[in-house]
Every structure is written in C-alpha cells, then in structure tokens.
C-alpha cells in the first residue's frame, strides 16, 4: 500500500497526517513542499498534478491553507497536501518545474487568493483581467462588489 510507504519514508517532511474519505492527507510547512512533491513524483509515481487551490480562514492564524491534489497512476491512489501559509507572507514554492499543469492552476490560485508561487514567472491574471483589484475568493471580498472593465451604459 503506497500510503503506508509515503507515511513511513517521507517522515520528517510533513507535520501531520490523517485520512479523508479514503484519501491520504499530509499537512506540511511551505519550506518542505518542493522536496516532498519531488519525492512523491519520482519515488511514488504521483505524476499527475490534479489541482491546487486555497482555503481562507480569516479568523485563524496562519490564515490560508494551500491545498494540492495529486494522482498516482501506478498505485491508483490520490493524495492531498495542505500547506498553511500566513497572511503577511503567503508564499509557497511553485511546482512548474515538476508539472506543466501547475502553470495555469497556480495562476488561478494566485489571482483568487493572492498566494505567491515563488518560481512561477508567469502569474498574470487568467480568469480575471489586467488591473483587477483584490482577490475575489478571499472571505473579506464582498459579494456585491463590482469592478466592470467597461463602464455600464445608463
């Protein structure tokens, strides 16, 4: 079972682990992310980068959880990584050098939550537009706020 091997061999690189509906979850610090993901990819076959997003907990410190999902075809298993990052320094290492698919998804998480992916040179807006102010998926971004790029006709 690949989960036990991951828990055993990647010891030191993560802080906490639990099971979420049959999926292994690892919680780790931002500085260990790149090393852990490289080993997951090379030694455990997690070659498909599924997803990256973030969760905003305004009352909590550190405020954000950056959440990654990976899939290993060899073992037919998924894994979730959670990286808590503080509001004043929301930085994690970019995974673009390991997975091409990280490029667009990191751009999305960057504009939606303001997470900085160090190493991703192309963090232009992707779903939003140039000049958009704020990060709409943060909980303190009001629902009713409008930023039309073209002024509304009267």
């Amino acid at each position: 079972m690949v989960y036990e091997a991951v828990i055993r061999e990647l010891g030191g690189l993560y802080d906490r682990t639990w099971d979420s509906f049959g999926m292994l979850v690892l919680e780790l610090r931002a500085e260990n992310l790149f090393a852990l993901v490289s080993r997951l990819r090379d030694e455990f076959g997690f070659r498909l980068f599924l997803d990256v997003t973030a969760i905003d907990y305004p009352q909590r410190s550190p405020r954000f959880d950056v959440v990654y999902h990976f899939y290993s075809r060899d073992h037919n298993r998924r894994i979730r990584l959670k990286v808590p990052v503080p509001e004043d320094r929301p930085e994690v290492a970019s995974l673009v050098s390991l997975y091409g698919s990280a490029r667009f998804m990191e751009r999305e998480a960057h504009e939606m939550y303001g997470i900085e992916f160090t190493g991703n040179a192309d963090l232009r807006p992707i779903l939003l537009y140039e000049g958009f102010v704020g990060h709409p998926l943060r909980k303190d971004y009001p629902m009713e706020m409008e930023q039309p790029i073209v002024t509304y006709r009267k």
Binding site: L48, T53, V67, H69, Y99, G100, M105, R124, Y129, E130
Partner: protein
C-alpha cells in the same frame, strides 16, 4: 471610448520582429466558446501561442459559498452545459459523502444511465463541431440531429434541454415518465444508424485524414505532464479511466471497454470519442436491463423534501419542507474530493464544509481549464489552419473552463 486591454500577452514584447503576431478570438465563430489565442506566426506556422481564458468567468466558486447546498445545483449545470447531468452527479455525490448518505439502488443505476446518455450527447457535439469547422456540414447535421433527439428526450425527463438541475442531494428530482425507456431504445437505434454513416463519411476520408492525422501529436508522458485526462489522455494509448480505476455509481457492474488511441493526434481523439459513444450506448442498454424498482430518493428527512401531497395535508411535512427550503441542509464539517470521469476528463469537486447550511468552499477541478493550460504545446509548430481542428478535438467548454 478607450478601454484598457483585458489581457497582456508576453508576445507583445518578446515576439521576433520578423514574425507576425495575430489574435484569434475571444469571440470567433471557430472557437465555439470564448477563448483568446495570441499567436506568433512565421509564415503559416505557429511559433508560439499564448492562450487566454476567463471571458466566461462568472464567479461560480464565490457564488456557491453564499448559497445553500441545493441552490448550488443549477450553477453546476452551467459548468459543462453539454453534459450537465455529469456535473450534477459529481456535486451531489460530494455532498452525500459528507452527509454519509447512501443513495437508493434505483437512483444509482439511473444516475449511471444518465451519465452515459449525456456523455453520448457531449461526444457527439464535440465531434460535430470540430468536423463542421473543417467544412463537413453533412456530418455536423447528422450528429446534431441525434443530439437534438437526445436533448428533447432529456427535456421530457427533466424539463430542460441543457441545464437540467435534475439531481437532488440524496436522489433525483423525479422518477422516469411513462414510455421514457421505450423512446430511449428508439433513439439509441437511431443514433447507431447515424453513427455508422459518420464512420462511413470520415474514417477513411482523405481530406479528413490529411487535416487530422499527425496534427497536434503527443506522447503519454507529455499528456500527463500537462495534466490531460479523459479522451485526450486516452488517445495517447494510456487506458486511464476513472470508471474502471475508481469505480463509482453502478460502473463496477457494467461490462465495458476503455478505448485508447495510438498516436495522440487529432484523428485519434476523434476516434476515441466515437468508440466511447459506442461503449456508452451499450452501457445505457445494460443499465436499462438492470434498472431496479423502488424509490429514487433516500428516505431521509435531513435532505429529501416530503411529497407534495403530504405537504398540503400534514403540518409536520409542511414544516420539514419549509425548513429544508428556507434553512437548507446542514452538512457536517469536513472536506472531501470527489472525482468522476466526465466526458472531457477528470471532473473533481473539492468541498469544504464548516457544519453550516452553505459550503465553506467549493472548488471545481475542471478538465477544460487544465487542458487549456497545455493547449499551446499542441498548437506550436503546426499551421494556423490546424489551430481550429486541434482546438475542436480538445473540446474546450467555456462554462467549465472559466467557471
């Protein structure tokens, strides 16, 4: 009036002055969706491409954080509007997992049946549109006929042609109407006849092969690196299909194959889709045969609305109805990632609940968005005229890509 450009392409600064930078889209008849491609051309060859999406962004994730669980269902319809039922079912399963609900046997098979039925419509739409863009109007009209029969038929069941909102947490909105299954078999036979004509027209058609063979070719390694899933990945020869690998709904009981391609080019993507339609038709028939009786929704007052007749006659049922509509379902705190094999690839819903009646966070892992992230690698090095067929073969759906 002057408006600032909504995008900033890196080609504005870095393009070779001898080359031409052109802009395709976002509103272009051949992109059948709103997507913008800024391409650097050397003669007719695309040197570099910069793909931009987001023109259909409507804040799905933000919106769902402010709606009750049932009210999110119509939003999920609008993700991939060619196969809205597939989206519905992934979302419902994510919520049901958190609630710990097991759906009824009839609902399980019906959902499987409808997943496959909608997959037929989605694949047919994709092939039809990309053939039409290459000038094959006959194939397009044949397939649109089949598609419209399917949509009319689903309309009979759900009340809408495209945006069905047919799922409910813990079941389905209503059971099948009389005669629905008989008409289903008629449509399947009709579809088979028409698909045979499509095969006859395209499979060995010199023009079609010249346009699609060895265009936008890729290896399995490349596809995995760029996160491609679904028919796009399978066209490279890797039989990765969630219906087999992580069986959900009634798939473990169905007998089906996972068609794969060899070259990973546009022709293989066309052929994989056509073969998947064949498999889907067979799966729909198997589902009809094994469809059990019984209710379509679980008998759980936490999620299921009481029957209308009881609502009008009993005070308890009226109160349950009122509370479910006004307050919504309370979902236990937790997080879950549920993925199904949607027609385009792995469609995942990552749902975080804090125990209230609204999702704390709902993230969609949409295959189209990920596919657009690697799209430029399939455009670069080919001709401008190949942009459109390649694009069609990837089946980008704007609603799902931009959310």
């Amino acid at each position: 009036m002057e408006h600032p450009p909504p995008i900033r392409s890196f080609l504005d600064k870095t393009a070779d002055p001898d080359n031409v930078v052109i802009n395709i889209g976002p509103s272009h008849p051949a992109t059948h969706g709103t997507i913008q491609i800024v391409a650097e051309l050397d003669g007719e060859t695309v040197k570099r491409a910069d793909v931009h999406c987001g023109y259909l962004h409507r804040g799905f994730e933000k919106e769902s954080e402010n709606q009750t669980y049932h009210k999110v269902i119509p939003y999920t319809d609008r993700l991939n509007y060619c196969s809205a039922l597939n989206n519905n079912f992934v979302y419902a399963e994510a919520v049901e997992k958190l609630l710990g609900i097991t759906i009824t046997p009839r609902c399980r098979v019906l959902r499987t049946l409808l997943c496959e039925y909608n997959r037929i419509a989605d694949h047919i739409t994709c092939v039809a549109a990309s053939v039409m863009e290459m000038g094959g109007m006959t194939a397009f009209l044949y397939m649109m006929t089949v598609r419209d029969y399917i949509f009319e038929h689903l309309n009979h069941l759900t009340g809408a042609r495209l945006t069905y909102s047919y799922v409910r947490i813990g079941g389905l909105a209503r059971d099948l109407p009389d005669g629905w299954l008989a008409r289903l078999e008629e449509i399947l036979q009709f579809a088979e006849r028409y698909l045979e004509r499509i095969h006859g027209m395209l499979d060995r058609n010199r023009i079609f092969i010249d346009r699609t063979r060895n265009v936008a070719k890729m290896t399995t390694e490349h596809a995995l690196y760029w996160g491609f899933t679904g028919p796009t990945l399978r066209s490279t020869g890797l039989a990765m299909d969630l219906r087999k690998d992580a069986p959900y709904l009634a798939y473990p009981e169905l007998d089906f194959e996972v068609p794969v391609g060899i070259n990973g080019d546009n022709y293989d993507r066309y052929y994989v889709r056509m073969r998947e339609v064949d498999e889907s038709i067979s799966m729909v028939r198997q589902c009809v045969r094994m469809l059990p009786g019984g209710p379509v929704s679980v008998d759980d007052p936490r999620v299921t609305l009481p029957e209308k007749e009881r609502v009008y006659t009993e005070i308890e049922a009226l109160i349950t109805h009122f509370k479910l509509i006004m307050e919504g379902i309370r979902v236990p705190a937790g997080e879950v990632y549920v993925a199904h094999e949607a027609p385009n690839g792995e469609l995942g819903f990552y749902l975080v609940s804090d125990g209230s009646a609204r999702p704390y966070k709902l993230h969609v892992r949409s295959p189209s968005f990920v596919h657009m992230g690697g799209m430029h690698t399939l455009l670069e090095g080919y001709q401008v005229a190949d942009v459109v067929p390649t694009f069609g073969s990837m089946n980008m759906v704007g609603g799902e890509c931009d959310r």
